[in-house]
């Protein structure tokens, strides 16, 4: 009677130890990145405000203080931009060279967004080490052409990578 019991006690232990050997994989782990969405506002015939996604033709984006020649994105049409926040300082500024999609004049405009935040280091895992997320995101300076506005939509830049800022055109 005892022998079957002992046998069954050993089997799950061995299997569980084997299963627990699975290692984590950090190669595609999400880094906290700032996400900027582009929107338009319009008023319907009934007088209701409506928001729609819009696109920008982005020629160049760089972090102020870094080489203006090195763009963070390839030239192209974007509905949103995903940008790295500087984890070495409490502020980051981006300069964006763009024109609205559909703008036949293709006149390149420049916008500058300066952000401040509170940095928080966090432990990802034994295998992946540490990373930094950014809390209490706020704007300290926004330079954009008239008729454009910016709203902080989510003030934490974390691994979820959901939209943080909306720019309305």
């Amino acid at each position: 009677m005892k022998i079957p019991c002992c046998k069954y006690l050993l089997i799950p232990a061995l299997l569980l130890l084997t299963v627990s050997c699975a290692e984590e994989d950090c190669t595609n782990l999400d880094d906290p990145l700032l996400t900027i969405e582009f929107k338009t506002r319009s008023t319907t015939a009934a007088g209701q405000q409506r928001e729609r996604d819009t696109s920008l033709v982005v020629r160049h984006v760089y972090g102020v203080g870094m080489s203006p020649q090195d763009s963070l994105v390839r030239p192209g049409t974007y509905r949103n931009l995903i940008l790295p926040v500087n984890q070495r300082t409490d502020t980051t500024s981006f300069r964006i060279l763009y024109y609205p999609a559909g703008d036949t004049s293709r006149t390149v405009r420049t916008g500058t967004i300066s952000l401040r935040y509170r940095r928080q280091s966090f432990f990802v895992s034994d295998v992946c080490g540490f990373n930094v997320r950014f809390n209490d995101l706020d704007t300290i300076r926004v330079v954009m052409p008239p008729n454009q506005s910016l709203v902080i939509f989510k003030n934490t830049v974390d691994e979820a990578n959901t939209p943080n800022i909306r720019i309305y055109f």
Partner: protein, 223 residues
């Protein structure tokens, strides 16, 4: 892509399945519905040692268990210590702490020395975490190097447990416990992420599964 995790459903269901199979193979030798009082049973968790040597995760830990049969219920106390440290080129950290559990088990078998149980635990853990150096990589702005001073934490959680304690020879037993753990509270910096709570697991999660494999010695009870 999220980190690869062990298949928790498999972990949970397999021992339960085997446990039920095992119970079916056991003869119920006595009709008594109360537990015989055989004295205190002391246990040592072998899975902590196996975890250190077999898996890649170098968690140094010890865990002990004691239970005492009382009519219809087993009263259980468990205690452990754990130390996790890692020194990689990009980071270093250390976690040290201890934990304890108190609970009861209900033996589903009638008579005999073997125990198949379901039960519950209240558990707590006291631990600290610190990193003398870490580098958060950033290809654009440049890597960020920093450190985290010692942070102290206290955690409380509840467990539902199930398992077996099979008498293998005289007063020696082998047994396993499967645990479902639900964290009730965690004091300290909540934003530190996936640090390990000794006895519980990942602090970023509210629930976890656990598994222990014990060898027990029952101190003979004499009236």
């Amino acid at each position: 892509m999220k980190p690869i995790r062990p298949i928790s459903g498999f972990i949970f269901s397999l021992p339960v399945l085997l446990l039920l199979t095992c119970v079916c193979g056991m003869a119920q030798t006595a009709p008594a519905d109360t537990l015989p009082q055989r004295g205190i049973r002391l246990g040592f968790d072998l899975s902590r040692i196996a975890n250190y040597y077999i898996t890649g995760r170098k968690v140094q830990g010890l865990e002990f268990s004691a239970d005492l049969a009382h009519p219809k219920l087993l009263y259980v106390a468990e205690a452990g210590v754990a130390s996790i440290s890692k020194n990689q080129p990009g980071y270093q950290f250390a976690t040290n702490g201890y934990y304890g559990r108190l609970g009861i088990e209900r033996n589903m078998l009638k008579g005999g020395k073997d125990v198949m149980f379901f039960g519950a635990r209240y558990a707590f853990g006291v631990f600290n975490f610190q990193s003398d150096r870490f580098v958060a990589p950033d290809r654009y702005w440049g890597d960020f190097e920093s450190s985290i001073g010692q942070q102290n934490f206290t955690a409380h959680w509840l467990e539902g447990v199930s398992g077996l304690k099979g008498n293998v020879w005289q007063n020696f037993y082998l047994g396993f416990t499967v645990r479902f753990k639900y964290r009730v509270s965690l004091s300290g910096d909540q934003g530190l992420g996936s640090i390990t709570i000794p006895g519980f697991g990942d602090a970023a999660r509210r629930s976890a599964f656990g598994f222990n494999y014990y060898v027990f010695y029952q101190i003979p009870f004499r009236k």
